[in-house]
């Protein structure tokens, strides 16, 4: 797949003959109908929808190009083909204390992660900012869990009196969930739960025999609590629309972080970007670090984007009628903060002073594991890309019932362990290694807690330090609070009770001291709201005071819910593009 339009070859010229070309290039040649900043999950969706609707669209990606399959160098390697058997060298771990804490940062995928020194930021409080700067962004690396939000989530802030009311409800977004699910390919079962609405599903992956046992135990003994198959963005049984994207059935490799040669899971690289390119309307420009959005005081709207070339450090302005900001939550917020003009002295759309504030995340800081000594006549065979079970939020669901606000969802998985006695030496050791014995089942769960957005959890531009492209470093000041601590204890107590009740033994509570950020679910910074005095974006993701700028990624989130957010960003992006195109047609933006 070639991103570049063959008729003009413009980006290729830009890349290879930049200076000469730019001097003769007029602003007209740098003008598009739409600009999308970022090519990750939300940017890929914005680009696909804009291109399909006929808009000439420029996608600006700050990182290098990554083409589907071709640029997945490790994807087909066997374990013994990794120089260090997938372990990263000591020096790399020492140099990268932040990204090294990420569960997927190993020899097979390290090339898709930002290294600590490459892109520094200021931690007023510890925050592990995990980033993927390349075409496709973190969509190559995500955990692929995809649950819809419901009105239990959208009505949360209003019901429980925190943040501001979401300006939308489930019915606003439902058709767009349908739309993105059909194209992306989401596997799951129709579970009929109002708190986790069913979608346009491909067949769900089964719970294994112990996960199923736990489901039966929980649902019988704890009314209102459910254990379901995790819903995930994998092609369990592809439809024509997926085959048309060049993707085929997921082959259960569970090596997703390397990039999938089958396109078995959804990524921008496998799905939305090549689809956008096929329309002939896409121009992809990697190595384009966005400095700011250009605001025209006379026209009273945004007119383009200032880019610094990552490699040459050259400054280039691109122009468009509408701009989609999809740089991922904190970087989208950073771009808005750095887009200063006479009209917006404190950042684009920051009339309310809330830009950069009310940042929240998911609390993943507790896990619990145990053994199960039953069902030993079974094991699993093959691998489950969904990862196992999912426990939707039950705590404080219908009404407030604890001394903390909101609640948590949880993952749940069971695996049959095997072991071999490795205490000896010589032929006995060798025999033992080659004839492993089955052990007990191991079971485990992790919490995904909703955190409360607060003004005191914020990001801002650092006053002094700039990066090598002349952009102020982002200063991050985000922390847990008392609500998180109470919720964490409740999760551990509640899961322990459920584990005990199911007959699990050797229960081990694990309270991690991980910093916010490592959940990679940072949200907020340019939140949506009904009132321009207390929010940055309106119900269509338009900047209140600059309506031809849309922000449809994690930055737009008013609250965090407990569900993994990516599916919602996809739906937001598609919905906002539809709105933008209609507004353009009407001449409103």
């Amino acid at each position: 797949m070639n991103w570049f339009q063959e008729d003009t070859m413009e980006p290729i010229k830009l890349r290879h003959n930049k200076m000469a070309n730019l001097n003769i290039e007029s602003a007209k040649d740098r003008s598009y109908d739409a600009i999308v900043i970022g090519s990750g999950i939300s940017g890929g969706w914005s680009a696909k929808e804009l291109c399909e609707k006929g808009l000439k669209t420029l996608v600006l990606e700050r990182g290098r190009d990554v083409q589907h399959v071709k640029d997945y160098p490790t994807t087909n390697l066997y374990p013994w083909e990794f120089e260090h058997r997938n372990e990263l060298p000591y020096a790399i771990k020492q140099e990268n204390p932040i990204v090294n804490r990420c569960y997927a940062f190993h020899e097979d995928a390290a090339h898709f992660f930002v290294k600590d020194k490459e892109h520094p930021y200021v931690q007023e409080k510890p925050f592990d900012w995990i980033r993927g700067y390349q075409v496709g962004g973190k969509s190559l690396l995500w955990a692929r869990q995809t649950q819809r939000w419901s009105d239990f989530d959208f009505e949360g802030p209003a019901r429980d009196g925190f943040a501001v009311d979401w300006p939308i409800r489930y019915q606003d977004i439902k058709p767009w969930y349908d739309h993105v699910e059909r194209f992306a390919g989401i596997s799951g079962n129709k579970d009929g739960l109002p708190e986790l609405p069913d979608g346009e599903f491909l067949p769900g992956y089964p719970l294994n025999v112990v996960e199923k046992y736990f489901k039966e135990q929980v649902e019988r003994k704890f009314p209102g609590r459910k254990v379901i198959s995790a819903r995930c963005a994998h092609l369990s049984k592809p439809n024509q629309i997926h085959l048309d994207q060049g993707r085929v059935q997921c082959q259960n490799r569970t090596l997703c972080q390397r990039g999938c040669p089958f396109g078995g899971y959804f990524s921008s690289n496998a799905s939305t970007l090549p689809w956008a390119a096929k329309t002939g309307n896409l121009t992809m420009r990697p190595n384009s670090v966005v400095h700011s959005i250009l605001y025209d005081e006379n026209k009273g709207k945004a007119v383009g984007v200032k880019v610094i070339d990552r490699e040459t450090k050259e400054e280039i302005d691109f122009y468009a009628k509408v701009i989609f900001v999809n740089a991922a939550a904190l970087n989208s917020t950073l771009i808005l903060l750095n887009s200063k003009s006479k009209r917006f002295e404190n950042g684009l759309g920051n009339d309310s002073g809330t830009l950069g504030k009310y940042v929240a995340f998911h609390n993943y800081s507790a896990r619990i594991s145990a053994d199960y000594e039953g069902l030993l006549e079974y094991k699993t065979d093959g691998r489950n890309p969904a990862g196992g079970g999912y426990i939707p939020r039950f705590r404080n669901l219908h009404k407030q019932e604890t001394d903390f606000l909101r609640g948590y969802a949880a993952g749940f998985g069971a695996y049959r362990s095997s072991w071999s006695d490795e205490s000896g030496l010589g032929a006995d050791l060798k025999d033992s290694i080659l004839s492993p014995k089955y052990g007990n089942w191991g079971v485990g769960s992790h919490m995904m807690g909703e955190t409360i957005p607060k003004e005191s959890n914020y990001v801002a531009l650092d006053g002094q330090q700039k990066d090598e492209w002349g952009i102020p470093l982002l200063k991050i000041s985000v922390d847990y609070d008392d609500n998180d601590a109470k919720m964490k204890k409740d999760y551990l107590d509640t899961m322990e009770e459920m584990f005990t009740s199911a007959g699990f033994t050797n229960i081990r509570r694990n309270e991690s001291s991980q910093a916010p950020g490592l959940d990679i679910h940072e949200m907020g910074g340019a939140r949506m709201g009904k009132d321009p005095k207390t929010s940055v974006l309106n119900s269509w993701h338009q900047v209140h005071a600059c309506p031809n700028v849309y922000v449809t990624d994690g930055a737009s989130m008013t609250s965090t819910s407990t569900q993994n957010p990516s599916l919602t960003y996809m739906a937001f992006s598609a919905r906002a593009v539809d709105h933008a195109v209609n507004e353009l047609k009407k001449g409103n933006i």
């Binding site: 990794f82 260090h84 992956y205 199923k212 082959q251 489950n384 025999d431 290694i433």
Partner: protein, 159 residues
């Protein structure tokens, strides 16, 4: 020709470590390039004896034939802290007393070491890791599937 094929023609893949065949090794140099630690060719030969003492040839290849001493050296060089590298090299020096001795004597020596001995722990752990993850074992013994293409969550184990 793609890059991988080209690379494979330039190098022999052995135990996952590329050994440059065209280089002319002096008698002092080990057969893989080391960046942090210093080991000579004699050390390499001795390490081959030691990994073989841990996982010997039986009716199937042992650690030496699978080049696991090179894997131990690679991991020692790249994936070990400077402190532990030093302790390993000290331990290796001390172990020289069993160099060239029969396998049983070498095994007895290793067994006599303290169970927290860094040299022994690294040697054994990396040998076992390299063995389990070797092409030979993963293709012939504990078979690794790159592309399972299936999931069964209730697979009955044959009694």
């Amino acid at each position: 020709m793609n890059r991988r094929t080209a690379l494979k023609q330039m190098f022999i893949m052995a135990g996952g470590i590329m050994i440059a065949t065209s280089c002319d090794f002096s008698s002092k140099s080990p057969s893989i390039q080391l960046n942090q630690i210093k080991l000579n060719h004699d050390d390499e030969l001795f390490l081959a004896e030691l990994v073989e003492a841990i996982i010997p040839q039986t009716d199937s290849p042992g650690a030496k034939e699978l080049n696991l001493h090179l894997f131990v050296m690679k991991m020692l060089d790249d994936c070990t802290s400077p402190e532990d590298q030093k302790k390993f090299l000290d331990g290796l020096k001390a172990a020289h007393q069993v160099k060239g001795k029969p396998l049983a004597e070498q095994q007895a020596y290793l067994t006599s070491l303290d169970k927290d001995d860094i040299f022994f722990n690294i040697l054994k752990r990396r040998t076992i890791q390299g063995y389990k993850n070797s092409e030979y074992v993963m293709k012939n013994k504990l078979v690794y599937e790159l592309v399972p293409g299936r999931y069964n969550g209730a697979y009955k184990i044959e009694a």
